[in-house]
Symmetry: C2
Subunit: 472 residues, 2 copies
């Protein structure tokens, strides 16, 4: 039998990694709830019809589809064979697909969230504030730090247009500031507005049907640079003339007021563009007044966001470490005004943030920000000297556990140094030995593996008291 | 557009449900760590070769398989067509499958756990104690309280035979007692031993190759009764004579000592059977000495467990409410001595428990055991009177949040009674109003929605102080 392995692009997480991941999740969950978001969960897979067409071409392509199971699969395949016999035309893969699969693993948490809200609209109260911390799956080409299964932490707020306001964007920026301040991890929030991009497209003369191509290419500006983006846009049918008319705005290095000035002039003929500028002005003014703890808010005119569904203000989060900005995105979000209408609920507006747990983990690991997370839950190991001794000691084990002290019993009476090595390797700081001698003398021998000192106690209450001190 | 829906057998979880589920997970996680288990996580899907053949026929059949993605799928299908052209034989579905899928969602957490341990055997220290709380997927026929996606909470311990002992079983029984005592939910642990069943098969004359059929059918004894099990066994080729030789033992209602007596006599010719009796005697003696808080330990000779991989003591947990026992299983576990050897690691023994989060949830809901779980994380709603007032109030919002008080701002300045209704519907107990009047008078108006009283405060510190009291 060959060595077992796992599918490409997936990962196992060790206890050391899990303790750090659980710490991150706990901080994010606490802050989500502090801002009034309530937890929900949706199934790992959705109907393909729910997911398709919401993300853009790439998203549709990268979905993991599930095969029908058992008898359904057999029936599907035999129906397909039958159809094929009746129809001599060369059939395509799409036709086979429809017979063997109608479910797919979710690609993000936003589309399932909106599907949830529409489906349960008569049970929930609007505006609805929900959060989800769950894995998503993408059949991306596996490469360094790009995984096929990864966790997202999403908080979203959705309500009718009339219940909605730009205070929601202000709240989400505050929320991110709170989370990353707690993590001691300074960030930059890059913000932009789809309507400003819409306005620029209007004044540039780029045709409407090229909008998606335009945003997809523009989103690579920070990572790939002007020349590659230009080439890609030209290849997609955007004229060089149109490109040059607006390219200068994507490189603007000026502060917020200067950018507002230039764009107000440039977009004076575009109602859409003017709306975008008004919105961003509101957000920046309020944030300036309320102030942020550690976070920098920056207007990045080249930010476009990959997903199709964004409509208003959009933002992306990157570590504040002088690296390239959007290239290192650890999260993002924005406003999506149309997504609910795809599911038949009109005039609803959503805003949300999505944090990439794995990206945050990697970035924090690089900055050595996990140093205080303990690597083992266990505090005590009881040495196993044999059945009789263990039976005597078990009441003490129970006592310590009742006090909330994580306690282990070595499962078998093997050599003592083997048992000591186990404690050492697993970072268990204390060893308690109850051998024949201790039973006779009614003593408890506790060894501190850090200080390499040994102390004798008269009863387990004393031991518990000592172990519960901050630095025992 | 039709109303959106989710795949059969899957569920959405509302905030009220999630708060209860998170409470359960928190209790189970804490107790796992109290007993020295460390968290690990494995990917949602594994290679089909990892999962296949470990669970028995039913398990293999009920796995959710994932289609190759994007180009891999295209290539797989076209390879299949090409082969088909070369080979005029009628091809079967199995052949198509091999071209389009090599991954499947995990069916339980035990097989991935053992795969993890074998794969990382050089990085971890034995005996290894790990736990996982994650969903699993089964393409079961959807029916009441049987789901296609559900959470399992598994704790497992694995090590070489020489490091292993029956103290591990004692520990797992203690662990379950701790968990369900904390949940205030009395349980029965039904225990049995695969070697006792093996001994009974030996003395009955049932042929070896019918072992799996025998255990699968026997496992239905408590749920379906003697007659149905007998019919099923006869259909599978077990003789009526063999069945009758041992059937009396599965109905034994006597206490532990009486059962030991009868079976010791019956199994005196079976080494395997005697080993099973010796093991159970050890476990019962130790548990009797240490004692359990709320849990009853019962020997149920008809307990067989569905999975192929169990070898030694096995157990199943049911609520202690006078209902049918195994029919209401909310968890179970046992010892598996061969599983690691399937992955090439010889002479390793594992023991584990698997708790069904959804089963526990349903059982506790029926007994109304969640009454103390709060339904909303939020404590305060700030009424939105307009941008100017919100900007003034935002410093107070920040102050309360910094104190850990979950605080919401209504996103828009709609009618006050609409905002009050939102707080009521979402079980937010306090409303703070900062209108023009309050700004002028420098007062803070706090309404307690439970007592329907209103209090004026001079500063936010006073408000925070009041809200942080246990019954403000």
């Amino acid at each position: 039998m060959e060595n077992p392995s796992i599918p490409k692009g997936t990962r196992d997480f060790s206890s050391i990694e899990m303790n750090k991941r659980n710490y991150l999740i706990q901080v994010i969950r606490n802050k989500f709830e502090l801002f009034g978001f309530s937890p929900i969960e949706t199934p790992s897979f959705e109907k393909i019809s729910t997911l398709m067409g919401k993300y853009g071409k790439e998203g549709d392509y990268l979905m993991f589809k599930l095969l029908h199971s058992g008898d359904f699969l057999k029936k599907g395949i035999s129906n397909f064979w039958r159809r094929k016999k009746e129809d001599p035309d060369p059939f395509n893969n799409q036709e086979l697909m429809e017979h063997i699969s109608n479910k797919a693993l979710r690609y993000d948490l936003t589309v399932p969230f909106v599907r949830y809200v529409v489906m349960h609209r008569n049970e929930i109260f609007f505006p609805f504030k929900g959060y989800q911390i769950q894995p998503v799956w993408r059949a991306d080409k596996p490469q360094k730090e790009r995984f096929r299964e990864f966790y997202q932490c999403d908080a979203d707020m959705i309500g009718s247009y009339s219940l909605s306001s730009l205070w929601q964007e202000v709240e989400f920026i505050q929320l991110c500031d709170e989370i990353f301040t707690e993590l001691n991890f300074p960030i930059i929030i890059n913000i932009n507005h789809r309507d400003i991009l819409g306005g620029l497209v209007e004044i540039s003369g780029i045709e409407n049907h090229l909008w998606k191509d335009f945003t997809t290419s523009l989103d690579k500006w920070d990572k790939k640079g002007r020349n590659i983006v230009k080439k890609e846009m030209l290849r997609k049918g955007i004229s060089s003339n149109s490109f040059e008319k607006i390219a200068c705005f994507f490189d603007m290095k000026e502060n917020f007021s200067k950018k507002i000035e230039s764009l107000t002039v440039a977009l004076q003929s575009s109602e859409r563009g003017k709306k975008g500028i008004k919105d961003l002005r509101f957000i920046f003014q309020k944030i300036k007044n309320i102030s942020l703890k550690k976070t920098k808010l920056k207007w990045n005119v080249s930010l476009a966001r990959g997903m199709n569904y964004y409509t208003g203000p959009i933002f992306e989060i990157s570590p504040d470490n002088n690296g390239p900005c959007i290239a290192n995105s650890i999260g993002g979000g924005g406003r999506y005004d149309q997504l609910a209408s795809f599911f038949g609920m009109k005039n609803f507006s959503g805003v949300g943030v999505s944090l990439g747990l794995d990206r945050i983990y990697i970035a924090m690991e690089k900055e050595n920000l996990f140093s205080t997370i303990s690597s083992s839950p266990s505090k005590v190991l009881f040495i196993n000297f044999g059945d009789e001794e263990v039976l005597y000691a078990y009441k003490m084990i129970n006592f310590l556990r009742r006090k909330g002290i994580s306690t282990q019993l070595y499962p078998n009476a093997v050599k003592i140094n083997k048992q000591f090595r186990y404690a050492n390797n697993n970072h268990i700081p204390f060893i308690i030995s109850i051998g024949k001698n201790e039973i006779e003398k009614k003593k408890i021998r506790v060894k501190n593996l850090k200080t390499r000192t040994e102390t004798e106690y008269n009863n387990i209450q004393e031991v518990a008291h000592q172990l519960m001190k901050k630095n025992p």
